[in-house]
Symmetry: C2
Subunit: 305 residues, 2 copies
């Protein structure tokens, strides 16, 4: 069993969906990713928050045995805040407000013992910070690096993003992002084009339609998503996917194609909990047993005989 170091954002979110609304919810890519990862392997959180990040929020990470040595608490600032609204059918979302707050001056500062963590997850955050984290890692460790991103960084920080992607072992993005990056609409051509950018493995996620894994020598794995009947809030689904994915690989200390396939099963299942409630609520209450039960069910659903 290896540990996972995770860099990303911790945030407060205001979210409006067609069915409900929530305010000052615990959010941010690193929150979802570290809680998801913690079901499989020890997670080390590298992020920053402000003085408004009350003890009860820290407690939610501690309950999942997430190491907070890398969490910087800025007594002068406020936690990154995001407000968004989902359209009917959750097809699209609008950002209503973004207050970077302490995130504006965030510089990941890696505790010494984090530098040799064998698995690193660059959750969604500016590619400059993702690259900075990689620079902070002990070069001799050669960690297995998993990375996520979002359309914003493709738009405004493309060169840095490309630099990050070139240093990653497993790149995870959605179909829209893969098309933006490669200008290739066909998902199979896009996957091949993304591997040409550097990553040995690429996963293209298609939301409720599942995901596709691309590996060396034309290796391909395609799977459906875990069936979700009652979607409440998709925020954090992608972060939960990469968290569980990396956590699972760390738990097996494995980085081969077949292990990534298995990790994808656990990843979609873990995300299926996330989207059933606001914030990390359902993710936190799922329990490893809940995740295992759904993973077994998904295995049944995709098995041919």
């Amino acid at each position: 069993m290896s540990s996972v170091v995770i860099v990303g954002s911790v945030a407060f979110d205001n979210i409006i969906t067609p069915f409900a609304r929530g305010e000052f919810l615990l959010g941010g890519s690193a929150s979802y990713a570290s809680i998801a990862a913690s079901y499989f392997a020890p997670a080390r959180l590298v992020a920053n928050v402000g003085k408004d990040f009350e003890e009860r929020f820290l407690e939610r990470f501690r309950k999942r045995n997430i190491c907070l040595k890398g969490l910087q608490i800025d007594p002068a600032g406020e936690t990154f805040f995001w407000a968004g609204k989902y359209h009917e059918n959750f097809d699209q979302r609008d950002t209503l407000e973004t207050r970077l707050n302490v995130l504006e001056h965030f510089r990941p500062d890696l505790p010494e013992d984090y530098r040799t963590t064998p698995f690193a997850l660059l959750a969604n955050i500016g590619p400059d910070l993702q690259v900075h984290l990689l620079d902070e890692m002990d070069p001799a460790t050669k960690p297995f690096v998993v990375a996520d991103t979002m359309n914003l960084w493709i738009d405004i920080m493309r060169a840095k993003l490309m630099e990050m992607i070139a240093r990653v072992d497993l790149l995870v993005l959605n179909d829209e992002e893969s098309e933006m990056l490669t200008e290739e609409r066909n998902v199979y051509k896009a996957g091949a084009a993304l591997r040409d950018l550097g990553p040995k493995f690429v996963i293209i996620k298609k939301g409720s339609h599942g995901a596709i894994l691309f590996g060396p020598e034309g290796k391909l794995f395609a799977m459906p998503a875990y069936p979700v009947e009652d979607l409440l809030d998709p925020t954090g689904a992608g972060d939960s996917v990469v968290g569980a994915l990396t956590g699972f690989l760390a738990s097996k200390n494995a980085t081969d194609f077949d292990s990534i396939k298995q990790a994808m099963i656990y990843a979609t299942v873990t995300a299926s909990f996330t989207v059933e409630a606001f914030s990390c609520d359902s993710l936190e209450s799922a329990g490893r047993e809940g995740i295992d039960t759904r993973a077994a069910r998904l295995r049944e659903i995709i098995e041919v005989e």
Copy 2:
């Protein structure tokens, strides 16, 4: 090995895609479906054509050993004609012209020995004609009935369509049609709602995103589509799916959930040939060996370990 009786349309199509155009192409739901089915089991075609349906077109069916005893040739009329244009990315298509011609007065007339065929495929055609074919079948045979439909019939012939659906064993439709019929956008809820209309099994197709099979007792199977890199013309993909599906089941003389899963593998693979060329061209040249090779590849792609 059982036979399959197939009712549907035989047509000439004019098709414009973003990349190419074709005129007076052999088309129609029963053309695609019967050629697809013929790779697995003897197919019996019930359709009608006009005096313009030249010998060379009949020859294409004969080459696949499709029985044409049920094909009515109207010496006074012309074959059903459809012209359509696909939008960029094939997301949508517009009908440019429809000439019903001989299809307007089509009345499926079942040759006596067709009446006891153990598998019946109601390919896409008016639900009145689909019901008529079922009425012509020998009641003692209790054929396994597979049915397809399209948005048009949901719009203009809903009551008859419901009557047809209630008499079907396996209903196959796409996600848009399933939403139109059930008013349920969530595909898992839609699948359950469709089964409540009568069919023991329901398949909801999601185009390039694969398909989901719903069976009794909450049985579920989800699979990706066969990876297609060079889509030329999607016309006939759905018809090829139901043709291969029913043909495969007839070849095994099986109608259980696990056999339908296997049939779905062959169905998506067969359709992957169809969309790589205009008309039935690639479907006809695929060969059973080509289909088997892709089926083995798809099995690899969806297998977890």
